[in-house]
Symmetry: none
Subunit: 240 residues, 2 copies
């Protein structure tokens, strides 16, 4: 059991199988082993295996999912890698700060680092499943990092910052899972509809902003329970 | 003129032209532009250009030499990357320490980072032309970093440690003030009382936990406004 076992790398919609193999190799050089693929264009693939070099065991054990939501079902904290600086309202980490944060503030938590498609990155719906953004500082005139290179840099920072001693035990009140957060979000939306609360000028924007806010808030399982209790009370009052 | 212009990447005896292209791309993403090739097996090469993606300008301007001695003729400090720990008598840097050292102790000096052949690394004669060793910390069970990945990590550390320019601009939606958070908290408590929501076993604990949750959530001013709008809507419904 290594301090890095709780970290997974999630590749969404990867087009080039060579990148999957190169990512597996990059992971293994830094001691990461958990790879998840969401709708890869080609997998398994001889090219992926070739590029993985001696890291084909990482490929052999990887999991394949139909959606990012499925891949993150049992993950408690997910960062979305992004090349752009657009997510102003969202916590944004560099690879180093992300690694430091993971070991200092999220001990024992299952953490996922999500990488989007080579050409188009992650959709907004996919971004909204993540708790924060990770941006690799790059040349503003040419920030086009290869996918596997980005995996290498993140894996390197995790490896560099991993504690050498045993990890502290997981929190007694762990961060809520993505499933719990999704249910809270649904509950909140239903109560909002019930009480007639919406922004008449941009209702969709409001829904998105609430989801983003919940994702970044770092709610624990018991906090989600408290909030849902409150929503149930509000709802019951309005029905009676 | 950038703080990184004095750093060159030297690839010795590279076998696979794709690695030269990928190295050029890796360099450019981190703002490095000076590439030197010593006896490449194939160069120029269509595969190198393809893998360089938008960094073909780095390839176009690279210099090709017959020996490492020639490539280092005008270099004042050179580090040899090595996967092994064998050079015990030699100063040995991690990428981070190397970058810190270069900016703190070697200001304005032309520095080269030398990468050996994919299979066999650097000869002892080549190592002896260098001033120090640079070893990338890796998984002891699998330290087989791809050549271009190693270039990416070194370029990243140089870029990360380069003296910084102006600070980033302030966010357009700043974090909520303590006053705004306090008002949100009061508002939430009044609606909780109105709808009869409380934890019958430990009401004070609940109040404390909600306050803690709001404090850590990193809410912005506009998010506080949205939440208070929702609370007002809930409240109005219950009064009517």
């Amino acid at each position: 059991m290594s301090a890095l076992d709780r970290f997974s790398i999630v590749l969404v919609g990867t087009t080039h199988p060579g990148n999957i193999g190169a990512a597996a190799r990059a992971m293994k050089t830094m001691g990461l082993t958990r790879l998840k693929l969401v709708n890869p264009a080609h997998f398994p693939s001889a090219e992926a295996t070739a590029r993985a070099s001696g890291a084909d065991d990482v490929l052999a054990r990887c999991e394949v999912f139909d959606s990012l939501a499925d891949a993150l079902a049992d993950v408690r904290w997910a960062v979305a890698t992004t090349a752009r600086d657009r997510e102003l309202q969202w916590p944004q980490y560099t690879p180093r700060r992300f690694a430091e944060h993971s070991f200092a503030e999220l001990p024992g938590v299952d953490v996922a680092v999500v990488f989007g498609r080579e050409s188009s990155g992650l959709s907004n719906d996919e971004l909204n499943l993540c708790n924060a953004a990770l941006r690799i500082p790059a040349n503003p005139q040419y920030s086009s990092l290869n996918l596997a290179m980005a995996v290498q840099l993140v894996a390197y920072e995790l490896s560099q910052n991993a504690p050498t001693q045993a990890a502290p035990p997981a929190s007694v009140d762990p961060l809520a899972t993505q499933i719990e957060l999704g249910r809270l979000n649904e509950h909140l939306l239903s109560v909002m509809a019930q009480v007639g609360y919406y922004d008449p000028e941009r209702p969709k924007m409001l829904v998105k902003r609430l989801r983003r806010m919940l994702a970044k808030a770092g709610l624990t399982t018991s906090e989600v329970r408290i909030l849902r209790g409150l929503l149930t009370a509000v709802s019951a009052r309005n029905e009676s």
